[in-house]
Amino acid sequence: MSDLATPLNGRRAVGYVTVSEDAPRGMISLRGDLSDGGIAEAVRAVTGANLPEPLGLTAGEAGQVAWMSPDELLLFVAPNQTTDALTGLRSRLEGVHHLALDVTDMRAAFRLEGRGVREVLAKVTPVDMQTLAPDTVRRTRLAQVAGAVWLSDEETAHVVCFSSVGTYVFDVLATSAAPGGEVGVF
């Protein structure tokens, strides 16, 4: 089997917050009527996680589920489980109007670690980083492009964007986290 690769080959920048490309993982976009019980059941079977509330993020033993829009979820699974998860979803959702797609290669994912994660993100997005609660997924703007942002705890933030703008987003975050750029408002 070929080696797993990520769009930026695991780039990493150390500033007052460390910005690094997240470890490889499988991402599946699932669209459909989320109020349909079949979708919740299929998601639970594949990831072990319950359907998240709007803007929420849930985790199960085999993956995470992020709420993207009123009819869209993003599933995170282990990189070698993507195909199985996708097949599992499709077979369970037979007859239910839906779309399930492996979007792993379409996306770049970053991890920010350090005490200043809220501040580093606040410099580049219009989201109110003061009030953003952990495990709230906010799709927003990162400088000039779209991306999703959430905190898993007070010192760890995650960013997902299109891989086509991955280098741009990485550079924006690394610049925002560069030493000497501390503002100290949070």
Binding site: P54, L55, M68, S69, P70, E72, P126, R138, R139, T140, R141, A146
Partner: protein
């Protein structure tokens, strides 16, 4: 700077996360319609000094469309409501009546 509440995902979004969709509640005149109607559907837009109903798309977020009612002079936002309607909800109109008495007459003039 404008901040609008997206009724689809419940986020208070910034103007820079949105894409403006122009005047709301237009009636479409397509093939086979009178030339005058077609022209006004294509080109003639209201440009009021005051209450205005608009379409917006939460383009950097959930990607869905919604409607907003706001004042073009004071930039006050009266409210936002779902895209799947052909007229503003009565409750919102009543709210606008309360803060902008007489705005409907201005609109007709």
């Amino acid at each position: 700077m404008l901040r609008l509440h997206c009724p689809n995902c419940g986020v208070d979004c910034d103007e820079t996360e949105l894409s403006a969709g122009g005047e709301a509640h237009l009636t479409r005149f397509g093939p086979g319609s009178e030339d005058d109607d077609f022209e006004s559907y294509l080109f003639m837009r209201k440009n009021p000094k005051g209450v205005h109903f608009e379409r917006w798309r939460h383009v950097m977020g959930c990607g869905k469309w919604f409607h907003a009612a706001r004042n073009t002079v004071s930039l006050r936002v009266y409210g936002t409501y779902p895209a799947q309607v052909t007229a503003p909800p009565e409750a919102l109109l009543a709210e606008i009546d309360a803060v902008e008495p007489g705005w409907r007459n201005k609109e007709e003039a």
